[in-house]
C-alpha cells in the first residue's frame, strides 16, 4: 500500500501513471469496482452498495485505434479516448459501468458501451437539463431507481444508513480537497497544479477511505514544505471540462505560469460542492448533483433579464475563484465536438472580459500530438500577460 518512507508524491505518481493498479489488487481480494465517467454519477450510492467507484479516464498518449471501429470520430475526443481504452481491455477489472446523461457523446454511445464491453452491470443515469421543482422529483426517482438497480446487482439493499455513511466520507474528501486548494493561495503556490491534478486523479481510482488517507498525507507533506516547488509567475486559472491528464497544466508550469485554480471536472467542479446532511439522503444527493454542480449541461434560466446579469449568475464561480486565488489570466480549454461547453464560449469570453481577466481560448483534441501546437499558444499567452 502507501509507502510512508517515500515521498508521498512518488506514490501519487504511481497511482497516476499506473492508473487502476490498486483496484486490480483489491479486486483480487474480492472487491467489486464500478466504473463511471463524468461528474454526475453519485459516487455515494456506489460506495453505499459496498462496491467501489472508479473513474475511468483517457490517455492522451495512446492513439485511438479500436474505439474508432465502434464509435464515430465526431464524438468528443476525450470520451473517444476513454472508450478506446475500455474496449482495449484496460478496465477489464471492473464489474460494471455507470454512465450519466452528461452530454450527447455519452447518451448516444451508451449502446456501443453496453454491448462492446464485458461488464456484467451497466446503468444509465438520466440527468435533467433544467433545475426546477419537478426536476428534483424526477431526479430523486431516477436516483432511487439507480439505488435499487445497484442493490439488485450487488445482492444487498442499499439502506439510508449506508448512504449517510458514504455521504460523510465524501464530504470529508471534499474538505480535504478544499484544504489542498487553500495551499495554492500562496505566491508562488505551495503545491503545483501538476501535483494537485495528479493527486486528485489518483484519488479517483481509490476507495474513498484510501483516497482520504492519501489526501491527508499529501496535505501533511505539502504543509511541511519549506518552499514552493515553483517560481513566481503569472497565476493561471483553467476553465474547462473533463481534463484528467496533466499535460496542459504541466505545459503551463514548464513555461513559467502557475496553475492555481480551475473549474475542471476532476477539479473544483466536482470536488467543491458538498452534500447536505440530515434529511433524506437520496434527496440530498439529488440536490448536490443536480443543483450544486455547475456544469453547462444544466440550464439555468436568465433571471436577470440582461446578458451581463445572466453571465454573472452562470459563471459567478469563476469570478469568485479568480478573486480568491488572485488569478492573472485564464485558459478556457474546450474539446472539439463538445457541445455543452462549446456553445458557451462567446458568453464565457464576455464574462472574462467583464472581469478584465486575459483569456486564452484553446480548442483541442485529446492527443499528445497537439502539445507542440499548444506550447506556442500558451507561451505567447504568458508573454502577453507579462507585457
Amino acid at each position: 500500500m502507501i509507502d510512508k518512507e517515500n515521498n508521498i508524491f512518488d506514490t501519487v505518481k504511481n497511482y497516476y501513471n499506473d492508473y487502476g493498479f490498486r483496484a486490480k489488487d483489491l479486486k483480487r481480494e474480492g472487491k467489486k469496482f464500478i466504473g463511471y465517467v463524468c461528474s454526475f454519477v453519485p459516487l455515494e450510492i456506489i460506495t453505499a452498495s459496498g462496491s467501489l467507484p472508479f473513474r475511468v479516464r483517457g490517455n492522451i498518449h495512446e492513439p485511438i485505434t479500436k474505439g474508432d471501429t465502434l464509435l464515430e470520430t465526431i464524438v468528443c475526443p476525450y470520451y473517444r479516448s476513454v472508450f478506446d481504452l475500455s474496449v482495449k481491455g484496460e478496465y477489464d477489472f471492473l464489474s460494471g459501468l455507470v454512465i450519466p446523461h452528461g452530454c450527447d457523446s455519452m447518451v448516444r454511445s451508451f449502446s456501443a458501451w453496453s454491448y462492446g464491453l464485458p461488464f456484467s452491470y451497466f446503468h444509465f443515469v438520466n440527468i435533467p437539463s433544467v433545475c426546477d421543482e419537478s426536476s428534483f422529483e424526477f431526479f430523486d426517482a431516477e436516483l432511487d431507481a439507480f439505488r435499487k438497480s445497484l442493490g439488485k446487482f450487488t445482492g444487498k439493499a442499499i439502506t439510508e444508513e449506508h448512504l449517510r455513511q458514504a455521504i460523510r466520507a465524501y464530504n470529508e474528501n471534499r474538505d480535504k480537497v478544499r484544504a489542498l486548494y487553500e495551499l495554492r493561495k500562496a505566491d508562488p503556490p505551495l503545491i503545483s497544479g501538476t501535483e494537485l491534478t495528479m493527486t486528485l486523479t489518483a484519488g479517483s481510482s481509490l476507495p474513498i477511505e484510501e483516497s482520504n488517507d492519501l489526501f491527508d498525507q499529501v496535505l501533511t507533506e505539502v504543509k511541511g514544505r519549506g518552499k514552493s516547488p515553483l517560481k513566481k509567475g503569472p497565476r493561471i486559472f483553467i476553465d474547462g471540462a473533463c481534463l484528467d491528464n496533466i499535460e496542459l497544466i504541466k505545459l503551463v508550469e514548464e513555461l513559467g505560469g502557475n496553475v492555481v485554480a480551475d473549474t475542471i471536472c476532476n477539479g473544483a467542479r466536482d470536488h467543491f460542492p458538498k452534500t447536505d446532511v440530515g434529511g433524506d439522503p437520496i434527496h440530498a444527493l439529488a440536490h448536490r448533483y443536480l443543483d450544486k454542480i455547475n456544469c453547462p449541461k444544466t440550464y439555468r434560466a436568465n433571471r436577470a433579464g440582461t446578458f451581463e446579469g445572466d453571465i454573472a449568475n452562470r459563471f459567478g464561480d469563476v469570478g469568485t475563484y479568480a478573486r480568491e486565488f488572485r488569478v492573472d489570466g485564464a485558459i478556457l480549454y474546450v474539446y472539439k465536438y463538445c457541445d455543452p461547453f462549446g456553445f458557451e464560449v462567446p458568453a464565457r469570453k464576455a464574462y472574462y472580459q467583464s472581469l478584465n481577466l486575459p483569456l486564452l481560448h484553446l480548442e483541442d483534441i485529446y492527443s499528445a500530438g497537439t502539445i507542440s501546437q499548444l506550447r506556442t499558444r500558451v507561451q505567447a499567452f504568458l508573454e502577453m500577460i507579462g507585457q
Partner: protein
C-alpha cells in the same frame, strides 16, 4: 481537415411526386407568414425546435412557432449558410458544433447588430421572436444551449427551457418500471410550458380546443404511417429524396388541418402511382434504405443521382417522427397534456420490446432490421454529418450489429402466416460523410465516386447470387 469550398447554386431537384413538389412554396409561405404576423403583432411568435411533439399547445394558444432548424436548413439548401456560419465562428463558436445552431446564432447576431434583416436574407429572413422555447431533453445538447447563446444578442427575449426525457434503452432493465415518473415529470414540464405561454400571450388555455388539436394530430400520425407504408410497393412510388420534402408537414405543421389534408392527397397520389406501377425510378433495380443521418441539404440532388443508377429509397429512418399510435399501449386519459406525455414516451420506446427479443439488437437496430424486411431492402446508406452528434453517433455501431445479425447469426422472422422463417442476408452499406448545411465539408466528386462504387457493389452481389 480538408474542406471544400462553396459551390454554385444547386439545380432544382426533380421530385417523383406532385406532393413533394408542392412543399417549397408551402415553406416559403409560412416563413413569410411569420414575418407578417410579427409585423401585425397580433400573434406571438416563438423560436422552437422540431421533434418535441407538443405543437398542439402552441397552436391552441395561437402562438406561431418559428422552427429555427428549418430556417438553417433552408439556408443550407440555398447554399447560403456559409456567411452565417462564419459569423458564428467569429464569435468564438467552433465549427464542430451543430451547424444549424451556428447558422441560427450567426443570423440572430447579425440581425440584432443591424436592427434589421441581414442583406438578402433567404426568404426574407428569420423573424425576431417574442420568446424562445428550447428543449433540454435527452436528445440533443445544442437545443438546450442554442437559444441561450442567441440570447446574448437579444437578452430581452425570454427563454423557456423544457425537459422532455425518455428512458434510454437498457438491455437488462424494464423501461416500464420508469415510465411512471418519466410521465409525471413530462406532464409537469408541459404544464409549465402552458403556464409560460399563458403569461406571455395573456390568454387562458382552452383545453377543449387543445383536445381537438391533439386528436387531429393523432389522426395525422396514423395517416402518415399508413401513407408511408405504401412505399413498400415495388417499384417504390416515392423515395427518400421526396420524403425530405414531405417531412415538412410532419415536423413543422402538425396539429393543422393542412398537414392532415396534405397526407390525404399524398396517400391518394401514391395509391394511384402504385396502381399504374409507376416508381420513383423508371427501372427499379435496387431498393435502398436511408438508415440514419440528416441529409446534406445542399446536396439533395445526390438522391437523383442514386435514382439515375436504378436505386430507389423506399424508406428512411430520418424525419419519420411518428409511429402508429394503435400499436402503442397508451393509457386512456381525458387530459390532453397527459396524453401528449404518453404519446411522447410511446414514440421513443416504440421498438424497445421488439429489440429485447432479439439478442444483440437495440431499438435503432431493430427498426433497421424490421424495415429491411418490410421494404425488401438491398442496401443501407447512412450519412454521418460531422456537426450533429444526436443523430449521427452510433451509426457505425448499428451497422456492426446489423452485420452481426445478418451474417453469422441467422435471423428468424415471423412471416405473415405466423411461420418462423430463417433468413440469411448480406447487406452492403455505405456511409457518406459531410454535414447538414456546412458545404465546406462536402465534395460532390467524392460523394458520387462513393455512390458509383456502392452501386457497383450491389450489382456484383446480385450477379454473384445469380450464379
Amino acid at each position: 481537415m480538408a474542406e471544400e469550398q462553396k459551390e454554385a447554386k444547386p439545380k432544382k431537384r426533380m421530385t417523383a411526386t406532385k406532393a413533394a413538389a408542392s412543399i417549397g412554396p408551402m415553406v416559403k409561405e409560412f416563413i413569410t407568414g411569420t414575418l407578417q404576423a410579427k409585423a401585425e403583432g397580433k400573434q406571438k411568435v416563438a423560436y422552437t425546435f422540431i421533434v418535441c411533439h407538443h405543437e398542439e399547445i402552441f397552436r391552441a394558444l395561437d402562438v406561431i412557432p418559428v422552427w429555427t432548424e428549418n430556417f438553417a436548413g433552408i439556408c443550407g439548401a440555398k447554399r447560403d449558410a456559409e456567411r452565417f456560419l462564419q459569423r458564428a465562428e467569429s464569435l468564438g463558436l467552433s465549427r464542430s458544433l451543430c451547424t444549424y445552431a451556428l447558422c441560427g446564432i450567426g443570423f440572430d447576431q447579425w440581425r440584432e447588430e443591424l436592427g434589421q434583416m441581414p442583406p438578402e436574407a433567404p426568404w426574407g429572413g428569420q423573424v425576431r421572436p417574442d420568446f424562445m422555447i428550447s428543449s433540454g431533453q435527452i436528445l440533443c445538447d445544442p437545443r438546450s444551449k442554442w437559444y441561450q447563446a442567441s440570447q446574448q444578442f437579444m437578452p430581452d427575449v425570454p427563454i423557456y427551457n423544457i425537459d422532455l426525457p425518455y428512458p434510454l434503452f437498457q438491455e437488462n432493465r424494464d423501461h416500464r418500471e420508469a415510465l411512471g415518473y418519466y410521465h409525471q415529470y413530462i406532464v409537469k414540464q408541459l404544464r409549465g410550458l402552458v403556464a409560460f405561454l399563458e403569461e406571455q400571450t395573456k390568454k387562458k388555455m382552452n383545453y377543449d380546443r387543445l383536445r381537438e388539436l391533439v386528436d387531429l394530430s393523432d389522426r395525422t400520425w396514423n395517416l402518415i404511417d399508413e401513407t408511408y407504408k405504401l412505399r413498400r410497393a415495388a417499384p417504390c412510388p416515392m423515395g427518400t429524396g421526396d420524403a425530405m420534402n414531405t417531412m415538412v408537414p410532419i415536423n413543422f405543421m402538425m396539429a393543422t388541418q393542412k398537414a392532415y389534408d396534405f397526407f390525404v392527397d399524398l396517400k391518394k397520389e401514391l395509391e394511384e402511382k402504385i396502381a399504374k406501377g409507376e416508381g420513383e425510378v423508371e427501372n427499379e433495380k435496387y431498393r435502398l434504405m436511408w438508415g440514419g443521418g440528416l441529409p446534406a441539404w445542399y446536396a439533395l440532388n445526390d438522391f437523383n443521382y442514386f435514382n439515375s443508377k436504378g436505386a430507389s429509397f423506399p424508406v428512411e429512418t430520418t424525419y419519420r417522427m411518428v409511429a402508429p399510435l394503435h400499436e402503442m399501449d397508451i393509457p386512456e386519459t381525458k387530459d390532453p397534456i397527459e396524453h401528449l406525455a404518453w404519446r411522447w414516451l410511446g414514440y421513443w420506446t416504440f421498438w424497445y420490446d421488439k429489440a429485447k427479443k432479439r439478442p444483440g439488437s437495440e431499438p435503432d437496430v431493430e427498426r433497421l432490421i424490421n424495415w429491411i424486411e418490410e421494404y425488401k431492402i438491398d442496401g443501407v446508406v447512412m450519412h454521418e454529418a460531422f456537426s450533429c452528434r444526436t443523430w449521427h453517433v452510433g451509426l457505425i455501431w448499428q451497422l456492426h450489429q446489423l452485420a452481426k445479425i445478418y451474417k453469422p447469426i441467422p435471423v428468424y422472422m415471423i412471416g405473415k402466416d405466423g411461420q418462423k422463417g430463417k433468413v440469411y442476408r448480406e447487406l452492403p452499406s455505405l456511409i457518406l460523410e459531410s454535414d447538414i448545411i456546412d458545404i465546406t465539408s462536402y465534395s460532390e466528386v467524392d460523394t458520387r465516386n462513393k455512390i458509383d462504387a456502392f452501386v457497383e457493389t450491389l450489382e456484383s452481389i446480385r450477379a454473384n447470387r445469380a450464379t
